[in-house]
Subunit: 192 residues, 2 copies
């Protein structure tokens, strides 16, 4: 097949998909691919952590994992670099309408995000309320403020509306979360 | 069992192990654990990337992966944050005595490291020559200089000796590679 000059890479996003065609992970994957191809940021989702118990080596190059289990992740799912800064976040969808259950995020993922913030990285959450097709950016600071001042086991949607930012959904990039980040020139806890 | 006060966490490194008791991945794991516990840096090895073909759900919480394959990684194995900077590296051992075969590092891992450097991150290699128990730090710049000026398919040990730095092996941290990194206050390609 011949393509006319100037044709651009297709990001597997068709207009007919509408705003809720893909799940959050797929949206973030195409967005991060766009960021990388456009030289905006280098951000990847980490592979799913598993513990491998048995591998059959049919041949040198053909190893089949026949017994493995999913393991609880120690860190968040996404990290990378943007404007010279370390970026780290967790992304979750919820079908709940009024709040986001904190049980979706493991204790050590929260501890990890706190450490990242302390070391001068930019940590945050991306949370999608699937019932409304709304995807929020919630800064680490806003997230920790909630954890440290509230005893609730879920973050109300109103908290995201007030302290988070709605991420616009478009074609390219699909979910432009990076434009909601304010990169400061100086990191907070940089050692002199 | 009762322990006297002030006892410290044991890092699974016994003096009797000597200098070659653990492989490079184990050495890096205990080193990174030490860095995290000491609040020096937050660096993790990424999970091994696999493609899952079949999962048996015995129960809600007991999912067993029964068919999966290893996939070629798109990125390096290790990344994180140190002194506010994004850190990214690949670590490999070789049993070859005179050189490190470049076939150990995938093309897209090299491309990834180049991108990281371009975005102001700190990218490098850690290479161990097991025959000598020597572990070298090779900066991204020195690595790319070799790739761009040499046609050889392997990096001679002498190149590591001349342009790399030997990583000292100790108890805690086991492999103190971070102290060989010079963190510049300004990132190279920071966008204004």
């Amino acid at each position: 097949m011949k393509y006319p000059n100037g044709i651009q890479k297709v990001y597997k996003v068709l207009p007919s998909y509408g705003n809720r065609g893909m799940n959050l992970e797929e949206d973030l994957n195409v967005t991060n691919e766009y960021y990388r191809d456009s030289d905006i940021a280098i951000i990847y989702k980490k592979p799913t952590p598993i513990t491998i118990h048995k591998v059959d080596y049919h041949s040198r190059k053909d190893a089949v994992i026949t017994d493995a289990r999913f393991t609880i992740p120690s860190t968040t799912d996404y990290n990378g670099i943007y404007q010279g800064k370390y970026i780290d976040f967790e992304a979750k969808e919820t079908s709940y309408k009024t709040s986001f259950p904190l049980s979706n995020i493991h204790e050590h993922q929260i501890a990890h995000l706190r450490r990242i913030q302390k070391h001068g990285g930019i940590g945050f959450l991306i949370v999608r309320f699937t019932a409304y097709g709304e995807t929020y950016f919630l800064s680490g600071d806003a997230f920790f403020h909630f954890l440290d001042s509230e005893k609730r086991k879920s973050i109300p949607r109103s908290y995201f509306q007030k302290y988070g930012k709605l991420i616009p959904i478009g074609l390219r990039p699909r979910l432009d979360y990076l434009k909601l980040i304010e990169v400061k020139n100086e990191t907070k806890n940089e050692k002199a």
